[in-house]
């Protein structure tokens, strides 16, 4: 008797979970449904292609939210079924690319943050006849991955342009804040700054923990009074740096990469000097659009060279025009 009652209980739990899980999955699939039905009004006619986008996004980042917004808008306009997946670790991201190949997608858009790990998988996709587009990261390596096109910023150039601006601003010493240890792209940005502004020091902080990041930057500003410019590599990090500056009573200027509504407002208020925007919305939008053009017309873009979406400067001269777009998640 007791055992059969336990069995009933097991079944009840299993059934409840099954219902709960089905609920979960239909929520998850809602994105695809929206892409399908939403396209009815303005969508391009013809075959519906499936495009996989595999990135190194660390979940919950506002920057990546814009890349995805761009990709989804393009997918909606072009009647494309967009399959998005991400993992911040290169080896796992490579497995996700393999997953896309197994799923026989029509096109692949991929980021090469950990180039050595992801290139073999991307090349495998290209060899399997899947057109590959690299975006966001992979400026130097996209051709090795068998990709015809690249949409993104030149990190080194962006860093150098910041260094030049700091020089022009008669800067004394710059602090370049790296919010994720071990990222090649972030290191490249700071190295770029150092190229055109030699007195630049790197500071490693934990960007996943904003209060800790703020404390680290604040401590550094208190310890080294010679710092005149703080360079942050993300919009959220710029806000942490602004708070740290207040805490430390420092008069250093904060300049940053990328934008979000708060950072844009801080630029308007003159708290942040300027931002170097790599226009993530454009990266996502163009990656999907270029693949669609390639699939429908055999087009390619960039004339065999990378297509740069940045560095695009946002400062007091053009912030009024750009501010509304930050609220709609496009800049």
């Amino acid at each position: 008797m007791r055992s059969s009652r336990t069995l009933v209980r097991v079944l009840a739990v299993a059934a409840t979970l099954a219902v709960a899980l089905t609920g979960c999955s239909s929520k998850g699939g809602a994105q695809n449904q929206a892409g399908g039905s939403g396209g009815s009004g303005t969508a391009a006619q013809g075959k519906r292609y499936t495009i996989a986008m595999v990135t190194h996004e660390q979940a919950g980042d506002t920057f990546w939210d814009k890349i995805r917004a761009g990709a989804q808008d393009a997918a909606k306009n072009l009647n494309v079924d967009l399959k998005y997946s991400n993992n911040e670790n290169g080896p796992e991201q490579a497995t996700l690319v393999q997953n896309a190949i197994d799923s026989k997608v029509d096109g692949l858009a991929v980021t090469l943050s950990n180039a050595d790990a992801v290139i073999p998988a991307a090349k495998k996709a290209a060899n399997a006849g899947i057109p590959v587009v690299v975006f966001n990261q992979g400026f130097d390596q996209y051709k090795q991955a068998g990709a015809k096109m690249y949409f993104g910023s030149d990190e080194d150039l962006a860093g150098q342009s910041i260094g030049q601006r700091i020089s022009a601003d008669n800067g004394g010493k710059a602090l370049c804040v790296i919010q994720a240890q071990g990222s090649v792209a972030l290191e490249t940005r700071c190295a770029g700054v150092k190229k055109t502004f030699a007195n630049t020091e790197n500071l490693y902080v934990n960007g996943a923990d904003k209060p800790a990041e703020q404390a680290s930057i604040g401590a550094k500003l208190q310890q080294d009074k010679a710092i005149t410019h703080v360079v942050t590599l993300g919009a959220g990090d710029a806000l942490a740096a602004l708070n740290a500056k207040t805490d430390a009573g420092s008069s250093a200027k904060v300049v940053t990469f990328d934008l979000n509504p708060d950072a844009a407002k801080a630029i308007k208020d003159g708290k942040i000097g300027f931002s170097v925007d790599q226009q993530p919305y454009v990266q996502g939008y163009m990656a999907v659009t270029a693949l669609w053009l390639n699939l429908t017309n055999g087009n390619d873009m960039g004339g065999g060279k990378p297509v740069l979406t940045g560095p695009s400067f946002v400062d007091s001269t053009n912030i009024d025009q750009i501010l509304p777009y930050t609220a709609s998640n496009k800049r």
Partner: protein, 351 residues
């Protein structure tokens, strides 16, 4: 239970009823039985909802993803049966890979020299973990947490100091790379399906660990050390040696997976591996290992890794929104441990 009792007397009153019951009970009381049930349920679920999941290449990808977790999880499961934790297993994978890459590249040596040096380094880390735990009596959670932080810093600091960047140089031009890749990171064509060699190694390690646990004296020692260290010591089990050995076992498997990372991708970024230690522990726990030690199995850890690999890839094959990825993963894990619990209770009340 009532059904077999009712049918027995008219058929064969003399027959001892224990034989058949004990076989069923033996299967049902295995630590991994709940995980196997959950794995089958999750497999059926993805088979039903995700069309690409049904192909053989997809299965190969699932197996590969599982093996990358499963190899280290085997060692972690044994260690947990022995009553200890290792939070440094995730970063020691990367420490091994970085060591091998930098030693062989900077000194222009055959990659096998780097492979050997990194094995020694990895075993030394494992030994140090174990030695500190048994000598000080401080919980392994704290000792290995310290090792975790130190290795995390060393991984980045040493790599940056030696190479000037945060990733190792590409080692694919060095002597011995081809052979090392064949051992650690090649593809095996089995006719109908091409699988990564890590899947085979994974099976080998699980088999060895299972044999060790169930068929040798050392296996009994491991269960005894984790169940009750004081009693085990009293009956002559060399508890300190067993525990140090288990830490070194985890270190060995972390080294092995580190070599796969290196030879599969030719270079390694120094920031990898963080957080994976929990995935290994989760795989072992889903597979029936108790957090308190003394109970668990190597096959269970393998099934746990398979559940994890299948779920991570299955969600992508099904095209679910990745924003919900961890929610879904959490629900799947909860399902696995609940099924685990209820199957075990069912098995116990059956007896």
């Amino acid at each position: 239970m009532s059904a077999p009792v009712a049918t027995q007397p008219p058929r064969a009153p003399q027959e001892p009823p224990r034989a058949t019951r004990s076989l069923t009970a033996r299967v049902l009381t295995r630590p991994e039985i709940g995980a196997v049930a959950a794995a089958i349920a999750i497999f059926i679920f993805f088979f039903a909802v995700a069309a690409p999941f049904r192909t053989l290449p997809a299965f190969s990808t699932v197996l590969y993803a599982s093996s990358t977790i499963g190899i280290v999880a085997v060692g972690v499961a044994l260690l947990m049966i022995g009553g200890e934790f290792d939070l440094s297993s995730g970063v020691s994978v990367v420490t091994s890979a970085l060591t091998a890459a930098m030693v062989s590249f900077q000194l222009s040596l055959n990659v096998w020299v780097g492979v050997l040096v990194s094995l020694i380094v990895a075993l030394a880390i494992g030994f140090l973990n174990g030695y500190l735990v048994v000598r000080t009596g401080i919980p392994s959670f704290l000792i290995t947490l310290s090792t975790f932080f130190m290795l995390r810093g060393i991984n980045l600091g040493v790599t940056k100091a030696v190479t000037g960047t945060v990733a190792t140089p590409n080692v694919s031009e060095l002597d011995g790379f081809g052979a090392a890749k064949a051992v650690f990171a090649s593809d095996i064509n089995l006719g109908i399906i091409t699988i990564k060699i890590t899947v085979l190694w994974w099976i080998v390690f699980v088999a060895i660990a299972t044999w060790l646990l169930l068929r040798t004296r050392v296996g009994n020692w491991i269960f005894a050390s984790g169940g009750n260290a004081a009693s085990a010591r009293a009956v002559g089990v060399p508890v300190p040696k067993v525990k140090i050995g288990l830490f070194m076992g985890v270190a060995f498997l972390a080294w092995f997976y580190g070599m796969h990372l290196l030879f599969n991708f030719s270079s390694v970024q120094s920031g990898l591996g963080i957080g994976n230690e929990f995935i290994y522990i989760i795989a072992a726990v889903v597979g029936g290992a108790l957090l308190t030690g003394g109970y668990g199995s190597a096959i269970g850890a393998a099934v746990g890794a398979f559940i994890f690999g299948m779920t991570t890839q299955g969600i992508v094959f099904a095209g679910f929104d990745p924003n919900w990825f961890y929610t879904f993963l959490g629900a799947m894990l909860l399902l696995a441990v609940l099924v685990n619990l209820y199957v075990k209770q069912y098995a116990l009340t059956r007896k």
